[in-house]
Amino acid sequence: MSAVPRDVEAWRYSARAWQALQAQGFVEANSPVELPASLLEHFDWPETRDHRLVFVNGEPAEARHAGAEFRLHDGERLHLVFVNVPHDRATRWQHEFDVVLDKGSAEIVEQHIGSDGVDVLGEPYSRVRVGAGAQLRMTTLSNLPDSVSLYRREQVAVAAGATYFSTHALFGGRLQRFDLDVELAGEQASYAAHGMFAPRGRQHIDVHLDATHAARDTRSAISWHGVADQRGRGILHGAITVAAGADGADAQLQTKNLLLSPHAEIDAQPVLEIYADEVKAAHGATVGQLDERALFYLRSRGVPLAMARNLLIAGFCREAFAGVVGAELQARLESALAARLPQVTEIPQ
């Protein structure tokens, strides 16, 4: 049983949701479960079949990989699928793994999906090392049913001259908590993150992005888009620390958020802590509603109101996918997004 997290400040907005979740009385998932065939279509992508690994409740679904460490080669691609499958009682699973890229460039797609039913809580924990001069591109898509919760932690160390690009799209789930710590450990290391979440219903999504500039001339750029509808709750905590001696750092943090309902809530907290000299840093956070002028513009061209709203919401979220390389992956994210927008019903004329 997971205790209430100790870091009170970091759990300020989610401690109650976490406690309520724990009332499900989770037990360890220790008996194997079948992978439901109905989930196959969500991750069985022709373009990734030859480099895909599937985990069911934290256990590898295929024997060919035990899944403790992924040592990537230049040009390698990896599609990791974490599937949450309910038991007859609430279960939780944990899974730890390491990703190492020593040189060259590589790409990972990490996906979290599940089927609805009795509660499941997944707790994956990963450590990522990007070696000197290497480039790692990470895209994560978590698209969960309302009975699945995810507490995902990722720690990334980026060496000198290396780059870590990431794009995150977070949909659904009862509670999603994502802690991503990136350390720019070597000179001229850089980190670029785009991301979005779209909580609706009673979904609660809490994202903590922490970037630490620990060396000279390092760069970070974080951009996050949030859309909350109904009673959805989103939290984006973006913290950039420029350590003493990390002179010449460049840190950018932007978050833009849309509230679609009076009961929806998004808390955006950009935090910059700077202990070095000659640092370029900027941050900004906005929370607003759909642009009435844009809505009128679309409607004046004949687009019905509900469709106009969806076009604007999708367009807003799509800005978070700008860094994704590859039309197929882009299309996967787009269709996940489209399925999570309010369904447009036909308006009788």
Partner: protein
């Protein structure tokens, strides 16, 4: 019967009355120019006709093809053939221009009970219109107006008009901020669409545009009222004497 009949229209924004009794009839096939100084209420008229929120009609009526236009939602007006070329076209990042226009055209067609166009049919139509208007097709692959220059935005408005083929097109200061080439392109676009079945209301501050789009009627709006109507020569007189001339004549008339 007039296509559009505006009768004694009074419109308020907040506590301020902007339109103070506009009466205007527009027939199919006609081009009406509405001129006037800043703040006269010209853009308000365009916005009210297109259905923008935030305007309170306190008196009067607007009948379009026999229907009460003011009862219709903006998208219903569009489907009925009303088009407003915006003075300040809105930037919509993340929404592709082609996708948006196809959604708009098909929504209109659907509302009118016409078959929707598939992507091949739509692209064929887009190419035809782009060719006629001499617009490059990279405009179509970008997000709606996002990062467009002032001229590109206005071209995009005219392109949308050409594609949607409205019955009543209202151009709200489409000429403002355009260089002479862009102005010609806008005028050519409008002139190519002049048709016995179609009417235009061209709102402008300057007579310059009317050298290229020759109107059938010119109306001068001051302080929320049409104070003078005439033919094309009225625009030329305004150009010569300025709006002060109208104000003086008004005073003289009142005395």
């Amino acid at each position: 019967m007039s296509m559009l009949k505006i009768d004694n229209l009074h419109v308020r924004v907040g506590a301020k009355e902007i339109l103070r009794g506009i009466t205007l009839a527009v027939n199919a096939g006609e081009v009406h120019a509405i001129m006037g100084p800043n703040g006269a209420g010209k853009s308000t008229l365009g916005n009210v006709l297109a259905g923008r929120e935030g305007y309170e009609v306190t008196q009067g009526s607007v009948v379009y093809n026999g229907k009460n236009l003011l009862d219709l939602e903006p998208e219903q007006r569009a489907a009925a053939g009303v088009f407003l070329a915006f003075q300040y076209p809105v930037e919509i990042p993340g929404v592709n221009n082609t996708y948006f226009l196809r959604a708009a055209l098909n929504a209109q067609r659907k509302a009118r009970g016409e078959p929707e166009l598939d992507s091949m049919q739509f692209l064929k139509m887009v190419r035809e219109k782009l060719r006629v208007l001499h617009i490059s097709d990279d405009l179509m692959n970008r997000a709606v107006n996002a990062g467009f220059s002032g001229g590109e935005k206005k071209r995009n408005e005219i392109f949308q008009m050409a594609l949607l083929e409205p019955k009543l097109a209202i151009l709200d200061e489409t000429d403002s901020g355009l260089d002479i080439d862009a102005l010609r392109m806008v005028a050519d676009g409008v002139n190519a669409m002049r048709d016995p079945q179609r009417a235009f209301i061209v709102i402008t501050h300057y007579q310059r545009l009317l050298d290229y789009i020759v109107p059938d009627y010119v109306h001068v709006m001051v302080d929320g009222r049409i104070v003078e109507s005439g033919d094309r020569s009225l625009a030329l007189k305004l150009e010569e004497h300025g709006y002060a001339w109208i104000a003086e004549r008004k005073l003289a008339g009142a005395a």
